[in-house]
Amino acid sequence: MKYCERCNLKVRGNRERCPLCQGLLKGEGSENPFPFVLGTYQKNSLFFRILLLCTITVGIVSVAVNFLLPKSGKWSLFVIAGIGCFWLNLVLVMYKRRNIFKIFVWELFLISALCVLWDFATGWNRWSLDYAVPILCMAVMATLTVTSRIFGVAPESFLIYLCLVLLLNIAMFVSLLMGLVMVALPTVLSACMNLVLLTALLIFRGREMLAELHRRLHM
């Protein structure tokens, strides 16, 4: 075993220097008691840095071109907003990448909010509330139903995701009643689909669903 004369103690392993005083060790080395493990560096950060640089460059160039061609309108603002939306979505996906179902549900909320904002900024033609949000809801519910079958997700988790989508559907329905939504069909369809799916869960898995709600809501 190696020996540190300064600290007056034996050191296991094959290292050159004492881990306490960093002095050179004497004697024969032995097998290392712990493996060397590389830290959890951000391995793919280079890709994201390049992407960030590219998107920012596009933003700067479009502002510059827009500045040189003032008669073409303020279109560069939309380019910048688009880049912002792209990054918001990318960050969300990266953050929740280990759970594909959470990506679907979170993306539904994020994209819905962004659609409403874009609609508002481009003259409030109501396309977001009339079509985009309810169609997104239906798409996400369909995707969740199919993928949860494929990946064999416990129906309890599926219930929670459906309840979250239900929150959005309720908000949409309230907007419909308040007269914010002009075209009723997509919203009503989406609400129906949500209710049918929930009812199906309750009919086929009722006891498990109640138990799950009991667990999730215990105080």
Binding site: M1, C7, N8, L9, K10, V11, R12, G13, N14, R15, E16, R17, P19, L20, C21, E31, N32, P33, F34, P35, F36, V37, G39, T40, Y41, K96, R98, N99, K102, E156, F204, R207, E208, A211, E212, R215, R216, L217, H218, M219
Partner: protein
Amino acid sequence: MKIKQTQWVKLDKAARIFPCISSKRDPNVFRFACELMDPVEPDFLQKAVDQTLEEFPLWGSVLKRGLFWYFLESSSLKPKVQPETKVPCAPIYDRDVRKLLFEVTYYQNRINLEVYHVLTDGTGALQFFRSLVTCYLYLRYQDIEEIPNLGYDASRFEQAADSFQKYYGKQCSQKPPKAPKAYQLRGGKNPDNRFSVIEGTVPLDQMLFCCKEKKVSLTVMLASILMNAIGMEMSHKDKERPVVLSVPINLRHYFPSESARNFFSLMNVRYDFSSENGNVEEILGPLKEQFKKGLSEDEMIYRVNQFMTILQNPITRITILPVKDFFMRLGYQVVSKTETADISNLGPIDLPEKAASHVKMFDVFASKDGLQLCLCSFKNVLTMTFTSSLRNTNIQKNFFRTLAGMGLPVTIAAVPFSQEEL
């Protein structure tokens, strides 16, 4: 149609805080390691883990988030034994991935068990680990007639009991005074949220002999040496604040309980370097007094109640989880300002005689943002392991040099940070 019955339990009162305060810096993961005479055989280890899990059904749980609290839900996930490829005490719980709250890994002669503190405390995990090691040795060598009863005969209900709930409500006469701010260790942190792990071993009999000479217990002795090691690094200005060591207490010693979950509490011992010069001899006396007082029945009852009064509060109960997370983290930051470092003694570990002959030593350590010393002993080997998030290892150096200065043969080992160190 087959209806699957999902079992679930509420978190015990001490565990409730862990998911809220866990971070990359301190994921609240601790590790038990056992060094055998021969290299580990993964196949036998896998079988041993599977068998042990049957005895400890709660360990097959996953942690889930409710609207108000986290809870443990039974799962059919099977643990997979793997070679050690992660840094020690890396985060185990990931709220986006459904997985078990413990991991079993191996490296050469070592079996490692890493546990998320939500599942159980050190004593609870040690029951599991002893069973695991004994079972492995039984399968591997076949010279042990049968897997012996390890003196742990709790029923599954006793194992899963939340003992805080049971002993809540006993009246205690006084409330300890509010703790002042303690001296805080400062300095650069390790990159990548890694911990520097330095493990030291000394012969137990020689160490106990030193303790007997001074008429103190092993914990008091090592706590004094640690305090002194911290004191040596303090500037004159630093000494305005006391050094406070936080010591976890196994409440099973004071309240009858066979719980395999968390049942521990924390006690603080302090020493003020401003009024006294402080060397190990001088620190011993006051510390011995504080340990004696801190372990009195009154203080124990107070500690059990302490957890409960906050958690039973109606306002706490109806607060939704994200808000709770925030306030718990805030509260934890305030509390952590009242302590300098941790010292935790798991005590002697025993195995059945035949199994013990295949084992060299045990080791235990825990993640900590700051500095923590964990102790355990097996046969005649006392293992003292420091984990620290700080780059500077002078306190560890002072500590082990003090031991060496007492004439003890110290052997240390450290987890390497870079390839060059090897």
